[in-house]
């Protein structure tokens, strides 16, 4: 699989009109990063549509953004911190009613360590 990072060099040029369409290997790699298993019949469509989306958003490279500070919050607020105090009741059993597999208050997953 071709590492995604190899294509980053593409973005050093800002004037060249281009398409940055993704290929099958890249889409497969993104799917793995995103923890998504795509069915065979949806894979081709995903490659096509994802490529169109990436081509579309690529027009952002044309914008001149020298010295612009990236937005962190639309109202420029800073993150509020709360006091380190218990505020919520322990509702574990009720919360775990939505889990597919639990035992003794623990969530069950396939064995991780052999």
């Amino acid at each position: 699989m071709r590492p995604l990072a190899n294509r980053a060099v593409f973005f050093t040029s800002k004037t060249r009109a281009r398409t940055v369409s993704l290929d099958k290997d890249q889409v497969q790699h993104i799917a793995v990063l995103a923890r998504l298993k795509l069915a065979d019949d949806e894979f081709a469509e995903t490659v096509d549509k994802l490529s169109r989306i990436v081509d579309f958003v690529d027009q952002l490279s044309q914008a001149s953004t020298t010295d612009v500070v990236p937005m962190a919050h639309p109202l420029h607020e800073t993150q509020r911190l709360r006091a380190d105090e218990v505020t919520e009741p322990n509702d574990r059993d009720h919360v775990q009613e939505n889990a597919a597999a639990v035992a003794d208050g623990l969530y069950l997953v396939p064995k991780v360590i052999e």
């Binding site: 980053a8 973005f11 998504l36 952002l60 914008a63 612009v68 919360v95 939505n98 597919a100 997953v109």
Partner: protein, 487 residues
């Protein structure tokens, strides 16, 4: 009392207070309408009939005891993105097909405490990702103005329920236009407050820096009434703003004389369908006749708002939706080989195509080697767009224009090309990127399909927006038009 379903929230409130009818009567009448029309419209994922009647009875006895809250006994529908304790909360997804929320969203809690009676949970695009309600796992919603048309999305169920007179008001959410676009396409009033004005706690997250809860109503007055209850600081939402909640109903009567209304030239260029544009221009003339002054404003970076959004929103969505792992809640794949397989198949099976595309777009723009080029660049352009608005609001009080480029489109018309669908939100996305309040108000019809007038205000400019919309509704009756089969 045959016309209870035609009454606004405020009218119902007055009628309940005067003893003209009871909450049980209102609730029963609307539940009956939902039962007769929902098969046709598919506006609801869940109808909570029994619970609603119990709540109505309780509201009636509270009123009799002299303890009526501000929304006592008034019917409401919640978009199925809001967690409702012990009620199915699906977010329009197979992933949450069986999810029964263990808690209430703050919005739900506040409305309930004020006495509102929930009728049910409204259909929506899956995880609010869509502009046509066609990405819902529970099937698309039909537009009451033409059943083969989309009601827009993602709050298509909320908008349709209000337009078809199945409820006077519904909650909704707006990340890129998801309140205002469906409101425009169904002839209803859609209101999205300033980012942080209404708590996001218990509102299933899509893009946390853009998401904001609001309302679909038929009048600006009802939006004001609802907002007064919904807005305000919530310690459970770390981006909730600490700021007093004004009396939103108080200033609505003030005339528009001298109101400076900004017009963005690019909003009326080739991208706007001609008749839609004419309806909006007529609306601007009405505002002018009421004393408003039209001023041309420039938003030079506006054409980059859709691509900016489709980097920022998917990036945040890919992060937010990582919580759906098949372990703690949501769909879980059968017979997983190992943990990795459990994650990949649970998510692959549980999410629909559009949600997967957005997660993958977000994963791509955040991945090593692409972060600077896409995500960081988008956040810079986003700042430029916000700066444009800030500059414009030095000269004007509100910005007005079309909500959507065209009236409602046919179901299936835009599902092939994601970009065509994304461009539906071209006029609404800017407000989300800049965190501004925005609303859509019915302003006419094109071929019997509604058109919306879009109003955007400065941060915390809710009052001026509601006032402009209310005054406009005093001069016009577009919002009173009811689709023929739903009278």
């Amino acid at each position: 009392m045959a016309d209870l379903h035609q009454k606004s929230l405020l009218q119902l409130s007055k009628g309940l207070a005067a003893g003209d009818f009871t909450s049980v009567e209102v609730t029963s009448a609307l539940l009956q309408r939902i039962a007769s029309h929902n098969d046709t419209l598919n506006a609801f994922i869940t109808v909570t009939a029994e619970r609603a009647l119990d709540a109505a009875k309780k509201a009636d006895s509270e009123r009799a005891a002299g303890n009526a809250g501000v929304l006592n006994g008034l019917p409401i529908v919640h978009k199925d993105i809001f967690c409702t304790r012990d009620v199915l909360t699906t977010c329009g997804s197979k992933m949450l097909e069986n999810f029964v929320s263990p808690y209430d969203a703050t919005v739900v809690e506040r409305l309930q405490s004020a006495g509102a009676v929930m009728l049910g949970k409204a259909n929506m695009d899956e995880f609010a990702m869509g502009s046509s309600n066609e990405t819902s796992y529970f099937g698309n919603v039909h537009n009451p103005w033409g059943l083969d048309y989309s009601p827009g999305g993602s709050s298509g169920g909320s908008a349709t329920a209000v337009a078809a007179r199945l409820t006077p008001v519904a909650t909704a959410t707006d990340t890129g236009g998801s309140i205002r676009q469906p409101a425009a396409l169904t002839g209803t009033v859609g209101f999205k407050p300033t980012y942080g004005r209404v708590s996001r706690y218990g509102m299933i997250a899509f893009a946390s820096s853009l998401d904001q809860a609001g309302t679909i109503t038929r009048t600006a007055e009802d939006a004001a009434l609802m907002l007064g209850v919904m807005a305000g600081f919530d310690p459970r939402d770390s981006t909730s703003i600490e700021r007093d909640v004004p009396d939103y109903l108080a200033g609505l009567g003030e005339p528009l004389k001298g109101l400076r209304v900004g017009i963005v030239k690019q909003h009326f260029d080739d991208g706007l369908e001609e008749h839609t544009g004419n309806a909006v221009k007529e609306a601007l003339k009405v505002l002018e006749s009421q004393g408003a002054v039209l001023v041309e404003v420039d938003l030079p970076n506006l054409d980059l708002s859709v691509p900016t959004y489709y980097v920022v929103a998917p990036a945040e969505c890919s992060s937010n939706l990582s919580r759906f792992d098949g372990v703690r809640f949501g769909h879980r794949a059968r017979d997983p080989q190992d943990l990795f397989d459990l994650y990949c198949r649970s998510r692959g099976e549980g999410f629909g195509a559009e949600v997967k595309r957005r997660i993958m777009t977000g994963t791509y723009v955040l991945s090593a080697g692409y972060y600077d080029a896409y995500y960081l660049q988008a956040q810079k352009v986003r700042q430029l767009i916000a700066d444009d608005f800030k500059k414009a609001f030095k000269d004007v009080d509100v910005i007005a224009g079309p909500t959507t480029p065209t009236p409602a489109f046919k179901l299936g018309d835009k599902t092939d090309d994601p970009i065509t669908m994304y461009l539906n939100d071209i006029y609404t996305i800017g407000a989300n990127l800049a965190g501004l309040p925005g609303m859509s108000v019915p302003c006419g019809f094109v071929d019997s399909l509604p058109v919306g007038l879009h109003l955007v205000g400065p941060h915390f400019g809710e009052q001026v927006l509601l006032r402009a919309a209310h005054q406009y509704q005093q001069q016009t009756d577009w919002h009173e038009a009811c689709p023929e089969d739903f009278k």
